[in-house]
């Protein structure tokens, strides 16, 4: 047999990146998590908050002849939607949340009662509205009569708040699961060990994961923003380029975090646990679905230090408030710190075997 011909090889970085891309497009399940899942969320949440006319507060009233006056007064209010319930099941209906308050007629011609659980979101305001309607029905004269003006300009609706949060959440999931899961499954299959037995550039290897993630993230950001614009008339107040830069920095932070989470785990169970540990608190705390200002003051420093909070804040500054990148310096610095810290630690503790 003749001596084999040797030639200069193709770029290992390009080959590693191609392998990542092929893995991605050849695994249809992953495509759903990256593109389908956020859209299903956005559609269902968007529909829940969209075009229903003015939101009416659901109010229950006991179905009894002596409650007729109260019922009439409640129905006269444009802000309430009134439902009559039979007295025996009324308390259960309130507990189930069929209405936020339950109005019962007063005994022996006394004042009606407005039952509500102040711990249920919206219940205190609903109780105040019901009391107001009852007062007015009993003949109270309004003194000030402020005009109620409806605001529905794009950029100030819930869906405008929601979509940047979904972008942030998608980038977090893609970074931590995409990178972390990929690395751990290669370790479990002893493929990392096999690669470590070659002169492969470790930088090219880890770089291929990050670059693949960044490329995918740019597609995801554009995709979700375009979907928001088409389906919900989302207006991007700032520049799209700035939004992409923010998305890119967020992706690097989560890619590095994924690298850290996947740097040592020896089996999928440990890896799943670690990834849930990393993502779940941010799902809950980082203001994807509601503003982080709902959290008590003492928790805010923790919440604000989370990378997803920083990413969501920066995205909303650019998309909703039209802020420049300079105005996002605070959250972007938080993202940069997470990127550098996670990457440095991950490289130190990473195990190939």
């Amino acid at each position: 047999m003749t001596e084999p011909l040797l030639e200069p090889p193709p770029s290992s970085f390009v080959q590693l990146l191609l392998a990542r891309v092929r893995d991605f497009v050849r695994e249809p399940g992953v495509l759903f998590w990256v593109f389908g899942f956020p859209i299903v969320l956005a559609v269902s949440l968007g529909l829940a908050f969209r075009e229903k006319g003015p939101e009416r507060v659901p109010v229950l009233v006991v179905d009894a002849p002596e409650a007729a006056a109260a019922r009439g007064a409640l129905e006269a209010s444009p802000l309430l939607s009134v439902r009559a319930v039979a007295a025996p099941g009324a308390a259960d209906a309130l507990r189930r949340g069929d209405g936020l308050v339950l109005v019962r007629p007063g005994t022996a011609g006394g004042a009606p009662t407005v039952e509500h659980d102040p711990g249920r979101p919206g219940a205190p305001a609903a109780a105040a509205l019901a009391a107001d309607a009852l007062e007015r029905g009993a003949g109270r004269k309004d003194v000030v009569s402020p005009a109620l003006v409806r605001v529905d300009a794009p950029g100030r609706r819930y869906v405008d708040f929601l979509i940047p949060g979904l972008v942030g959440m998608t980038l977090m999931g893609g970074g931590i699961w995409g990178v972390g899961y990929g690395l751990v499954s290669m370790r479990v299959r002893r493929l990392l060990k096999r690669l470590a037995a070659t002169p492969m550039s470790r930088r090219a290897f880890l770089g291929s994961f990050l670059v693949h993630r960044v490329g995918l993230a740019l597609v995801e950001v554009c995709f979700l923003l375009a979907f928001g614009a088409l389906a919900f008339d989302l207006r991007i107040a700032g520049s799209l380029a700035d939004a992409l830069v923010v998305g890119l920095l967020g992706t690097l932070a989560f890619g590095a975090l994924g690298l850290l989470v996947g740097s040592r785990a020896q089996n999928m169970e440990t890896a799943n646990g670690l990834m849930n540990l990393a993502t779940l608190p941010m799902w809950l705390l980082s203001g994807v679905f509601f503003s982080t200002s709902n959290f008590p003051t003492w928790l805010r420093p923790v919440v604000d230090a989370l990378p997803l909070t920083a990413l969501n804040d920066a995205l909303r500054l650019v998309v909703n408030d039209g802020a420049s990148l300079a105005a996002c310096a605070g959250p972007l610095a938080v993202l940069a710190a997470w990127t550098a810290g996670s990457f440095a630690v991950a490289l130190r503790i990473f195990r190939w075997v």
């Binding site: 001596e3 290992s12 299959r189």
Partner: protein, 317 residues
Amino acid sequence: MSPPAVLVRGLVKRYGDVVAVDGLDLEIPAGVCFGILGPNGAGKTTTMEIVEGLLAPTGGEVAVLGRTWARDAGELRERIGVQLQETVLDPLQTVRETLTLFGSFYRRCRRVEDVIADVGLEAKATARVKALSGGQRQRLAVGCALVADPEILFLDEPTTGLDPAARRGLWDVIGRFQARGRTVVLTTHSMEEAERLCDRIAIVDRGRVAALGTPDELVARVGGEEVVELSTDPPLDVATWRAVPGVREATVEGPVHRLVVDRVADALPAVLSRAASSGARPVRLATHRATLEDAFLAVAGRSFADAEAAARPGEAS
């Protein structure tokens, strides 16, 4: 004179209290096919992975091509090719993509089509790894080790779990590589594989080299050319056979007596007449030429199966 391909001195590897390798010495000259033979748990894989620079030893010295992993890891990785026992290659990539990827890690690599032809996967070049049979996957794994035309090819149990045809296919690939004067180091627990492929063999037991030599030399350690396996009813004392002319050695393995003889044709009539005169009837009788399995028994003092059973659990092979 060029340095040996692999030189190992006093190698020790401990995992906590478990001693996987216990003072192992090896010298593998360049250009040979060297077999490390032993039961599961003997320390073969641990030794291989230390020599391949994937594990750090607890103690001892390792030099590959005259160089050490501490100083020349980058260069050594360019010059060796490795197939690991448990690697599962990415199932979504094709054969050609996998080989192209591995080739790209080296300073210089062979043409992918040449490697594909070398391991006989021409018809599967565009098939994804998940669609390959076990034998084809294993040939691809060896192909990945051959992409840069290494000076030493390390194979860790390359044919374990393969059917006989797939085994022979892989032996041909290894044989062609070795025929070019390159060094092959392989572990196996297949006696047939070791006898078929290897110029020199180290029998490893309990983390040490129990015997070293060519297959013929090791078989000669058995003390005779052929082996008679015999059990009788009623069972006879094993010492009975040692007095029979032509029987060199007699050992007991369960109900079976193993008699090492120079020539079956000479010894067998004497053995049978001895059984008859003792009033015992042969219930099982088999003969075979002495093999490495007999050699293992001779040097380790226990059979392969017993050694493997003793190594479980806590298998640190």
